[in-house]
Symmetry: C2
């Protein structure tokens, strides 16, 4: 497990937030992700479901695909995944399948979160891979970009 200082954690979460801004610019749900190895980013992703018309194209999936390609390996040992919002069921499953040992996320997702909220897939003793999970880094920023997005969408619909 990589030992990050609090400043380093905030730095990488800020990079994930920059990724979330890419979703926002395309009117997508603004979630961003970076995967870090030896304190360097090896994969970036942002939610692009509407743009690419792909149900699976969440921030974490895009970042895992990029990191797998970069490393030439489907396993991602000694990496840490930073994501602005708690991963969903699909992404939590994907994190385990990619053998990512460490996840740091910004804000909880009470409706869809699978890293503690609805499920606790990343820490399930029955699965063959368990993940160290930390939360709360730049929590307000990660939550507020989501709240603003949904507020604006509601106003638009009214």
């Amino acid at each position: 497990m990589t030992d990050f200082t609090h400043k380093e954690k905030e730095y990488f979460m800020a990079q994930a937030l920059k990724e979330a801004q890419k979703s926002l610019a395309k009117e997508e749900i603004p979630i961003g992700c970076v995967i870090v190895k030896d304190k360097e980013i090896i994969g970036c992703g942002h939610n692009a479901r509407e743009e690419l018309n792909q149900a699976i194209m969440h921030a974490e999936i895009m970042a895992i695909e990029e990191a797998n390609t970069k490393m030439g390996n489907w396993r991602l040992p000694d990496t840490a995944l930073f994501v602005t919002i708690e991963p969903c069921v699909m992404c939590s499953g994907a994190i385990g399948l990619a053998r990512i040992p460490q996840v740091i996320y910004g804000a909880n997702n009470q409706k869809f979160g699978a890293a503690g909220s609805l499920y606790n897939i990343l820490r399930d003793e029955r699965l063959n891979h368990r993940v160290e999970v930390e939360t709360g880094i730049l929590k307000e920023d990660c939550a507020s970009i989501m709240k603003d997005f949904f507020r604006k969408r509601r106003i638009k619909k009214e």
Copy 2:
């Protein structure tokens, strides 16, 4: 929900088994999947994790991507997903995200299955999409291709 005859279900599961054979030919865990709309196949997939070096490249994910591309839509209403083995956590999450209403799988996966074995994600009342699930179609064929694969792999390692 599509109303399939038993013969039709066996036909589409046989197509999924043909997909699983593609994995087997590349010495990958042999799981195959087809997605059907109006009784026509709109997406095929086979497990290709090792070949493509992508942790997420399970049969269901490959089939969902193909169906999304073909339909030009991340939503797949009025479709049925046939897969030889019970979907894992990631794939069960992906099936929900793609709004697939119907899943038919061959054999259970006691170790990783998330459609009844370890989890029951496809029928979770808390999530915003629920799926009609049926199992047991060509169960012996779907299970035996897996057993043969793992038996041969064990012998190879000894």
